[in-house]
């Protein structure tokens, strides 16, 4: 799958605080994500994966290093540039309950996407059509959702609606920050399936942030393992998970319970 570069970083670093309180959240990492790739960034809490994600999204600025988008250095200084950039990269966050403005109806979320895609002046019927399509993409019925408030939905439905939002926006890159960690296992499958559909049907690049190495293995093409701000290992999922090289990766895998293999408790 040698494809063109979508997002890449060189020496990307993020430092929080000054002096004694200085913490290096992301420490000179390099990465290349390709178009249409399903990438997982795996790390435990405090590994800097969420900070990296926010930098990729342009929500926070990198302290050092350079992020390139579609082969060109990313320019997101001004508001306009940011707006343009955000048409190409979007996100789904961990907690569906906090991802919604509880004061807005569900329609508002979707209408906002249509507006962002320049469909502000479309007739309302057209908009409904688009929204219905988006909802059906995530197995939701727009008629049942319209005029409802987010708190009337279950967590799984909310997260699916988030994906519907992405479907409407059709960005080049989707950054999914632990989208299933707050969701029950039964609904998780649906979410994962829809993410795969986004990649397969729209050709989106998906950057999947997770602490669950099993999940990363299950879903992604490429896996990046992060430890304390560093990328300690990366490569195709099969290789990294089944034949890990880095000590950290090995430990991570051995610490996770399995069902077919023996879970060795003596190693702790």
């Amino acid at each position: 799958m040698a494809k063109e570069l979508c997002l890449s970083g060189k020496n990307v670093t993020k430092v929080f605080g000054f002096g004694d309180k200085k913490t290096v959240a992301v420490n000179h990492v390099d990465f290349d994500f390709h178009v249409g790739e399903f990438v997982s960034i795996v790390g435990e809490s405090g590994s800097g994966k969420t900070t990296l994600a926010k930098m990729l999204l342009g929500l926070i600025h990198e302290t050092e290093g350079e992020i390139s988008f579609l082969g060109k250095p990313r320019e997101i200084k001004g508001r306009k540039q940011k707006r343009e950039y955000w048409k190409e990269i979007q996100a789904i966050f961990q907690d569906p309950f906090s991802s919604y403005n509880v004061f807005h109806k569900i329609d508002a979320v979707l209408l906002d996407c249509i507006k962002m895609r320049g469909g502000k002046k479309l007739p309302y019927e057209k908009k409904v059509e688009m929204m219905t399509e988006a909802c059906s993409f995530v197995n939701l019925k727009f008629e049942e959702l319209t005029n409802k408030y987010p708190f009337e939905l279950s967590g799984g439905q909310m997260q699916r609606l988030m994906i519907a939002r992405i479907f409407l926006l059709k960005p080049k890159i989707l950054l999914a920050d632990e989208p299933t960690s707050m969701i029950d296992a039964c609904s998780r499958a649906t979410i994962l399936e829809m993410l795969q559909n986004l990649r397969n049907e729209i050709g989106m690049t998906i950057i999947f942030i997770t602490h669950d190495i099993g999940l990363a293995y299950f879903i992604s093409d490429t896996v990046f393992i992060m430890e304390k701000g560093n990328i300690v290992e990366y490569g195709p999922a099969e290789k990294v998970i089944l034949n890990p090289e880095a000590e950290y990766t090995k430990r991570l895998i051995s610490d996770v319970p399995k069902i077919h293999e023996e879970w060795d408790l003596s190693t702790v």
Binding site: W86, I89, S98, Y100, N101, V102, F103
Partner: protein, 416 residues
């Protein structure tokens, strides 16, 4: 919205607070309608007329009279000036003046009065009797003379040029006037104050001013606090540091001291209710700023804000749609507290003589100030200050109660 309202009105505390506050508001709105006119108009000459119904004597004597034969009338009349302690004192006078009082019962009114009529002499200065006592007996004597003689009273008019008197009518002790027939009857439910103003009317107007001050001061404080809190919390960084520096300065200096200093330096002739309200508003915003800031900081990291950013919304849109609605309940609660605080602050300031310029508008604090300056509290003119204190207490109590009620609704951790 409807849902929130219905929830709010399910809170017992809120409803009680709301009812109290509404009744105060109703008093404020409707009393002036029933009793129009300038609340600062001086209606009584002299200070502190007691609460009650005042009947114009001038008109009463001209009204149609009915004759009522009431057996108890003379006794009542007498009782109004001759109480049992007066009887005891009369005996004391007889004693001091050396009049034998053997076999005299103080309940034997007739004997007592006869003896008094025969013997009392204002010029006698019995040994050991104080002047206060002598004055007392003179007053008693005067009062007795008025009631024990049941001759008709003659009403006469004086000719201004010749000073001659012409009898208009005689008034008998059985003459009564229906109060409805008297042209001028003034009800003063709370009497008059030191200036002779109708206290209830003034109170209604004062509530209005005080609530105005509360609203203006509360709005200013909330506006400043909200703006600072939003900017500080949402933008962060240097802006946050700077705003928090100012906020801390204001927090460290006790607001009331600041208030006193500012009010003092403004000078009395500049202090209208609006100025006082602005000054109060400018000194008490810190609490709101801090509360809003901490709320905003926790909200700032919520994903829906991030998502809103990713949707390309600008700062103001995000603040207005994604931040403000979330903190609206806090802000409203803060506003309620600020209003109640401002009303109290005005009362305190005015009590110290630093309130709004007097006598253009009444405020609750000014009413207290005046009644205190006239030592109403030492002399038992309760109607001049107690209703004011009660009103202040009720306003503050009801607002705080509403706030607690809202807190229960908006802040689920306090739910049981």
């Amino acid at each position: 919205m409807k849902h929130i309202l219905s929830q709010v009105f399910h809170s017992g505390k809120f409803v009680v607070g709301f009812c109290i506050f509404m009744s105060i508001l109703l008093l404020m709105i409707f009393y002036p309608i029933f009793n129009p006119g300038n609340p600062l108009q001086i209606v009584s000459i002299g200070t502190f007329a007691e609460p009650g119904i005042y009947v114009s004597v001038y008109d009463a004597v001209d009204s149609d009279m009915n004759t009522l034969k009431l057996d108890e009338a003379p006794a009542k009349r007498l009782d109004s000036v001759l109480k049992s302690e007066d009887r005891v004192k009369m005996v004391m006078w007889f004693d001091a003046a050396g009049i034998p009082v053997d076999n005299l019962s103080i309940h034997d009114t007739e004997a007592l009065l006869t003896l008094w009529e025969e013997n009392y002499d204002a010029t006698i200065r019995p040994e050991g009797m104080t002047k206060a006592d002598r004055n007392y007996f003179q007053r008693l004597d005067g009062n007795l003379k008025k009631v024990i003689v049941t001759h008709d009273k003659v009403l006469a008019r004086q000719d201004p040029s010749s000073s001659e008197l012409s009898v208009i009518r005689t008034i008998e002790d059985t003459d009564y006037v229906n109060i409805k027939k008297v042209a001028n009857v003034k009800r003063l439910p709370l009497g008059t104050d030191n200036f002779g103003r109708d206290v209830l009317k003034e109170l209604a107007a004062a509530i209005k001013t005080s609530i105005f001050i509360g609203l203006v001061a509360g709005s200013i404080a909330t506006l400043i606090g909200l703006t600072f809190g939003l900017l500080s919390g949402f933008i962060g960084g240097l802006v946050d540091d700077f705003i928090m520096f100012i906020t801390n300065i204001f927090t460290v200096i006790p607001a009331f001291v600041l208030l006193i200093l500012i009010s003092y330096s403004i000078g009395q002739d500049q202090r209208g209710p609006t100025t006082v309200a602005v000054v109060i508003g400018l000194t008490v915003w810190t609490w709101t700023a801090r509360a809003v800031r901490s709320q905003v900081i926790s909200l700032r990291n919520r994903d829906h804000v991030n998502l809103s950013k990713l949707s390309g919304h600008n700062l103001f849109l995000i603040i207005f749609t994604d931040i403000l609605p979330y903190i609206a309940s806090y802000v409203i609660m803060a506003l309620i507290l600020q209003i109640s605080g401002a009303i109290l602050a005005e009362a305190q300031l005015s009590l110290l003589g630093l309130g709004p310029k007097t006598t253009e508008v009444p405020t609750l604090g000014l009413m207290m100030n005046w009644s205190m300056l006239y030592t109403a509290h030492l002399n038992g003119y309760w109607w001049a200050y107690f209703p004011v204190i009660l009103t202040i207490a009720l306003i503050s109590f009801s607002l705080n109660l509403m706030n607690t009620g809202l807190d229960q609704v908006f802040n689920p951790t306090l739910r049981d």
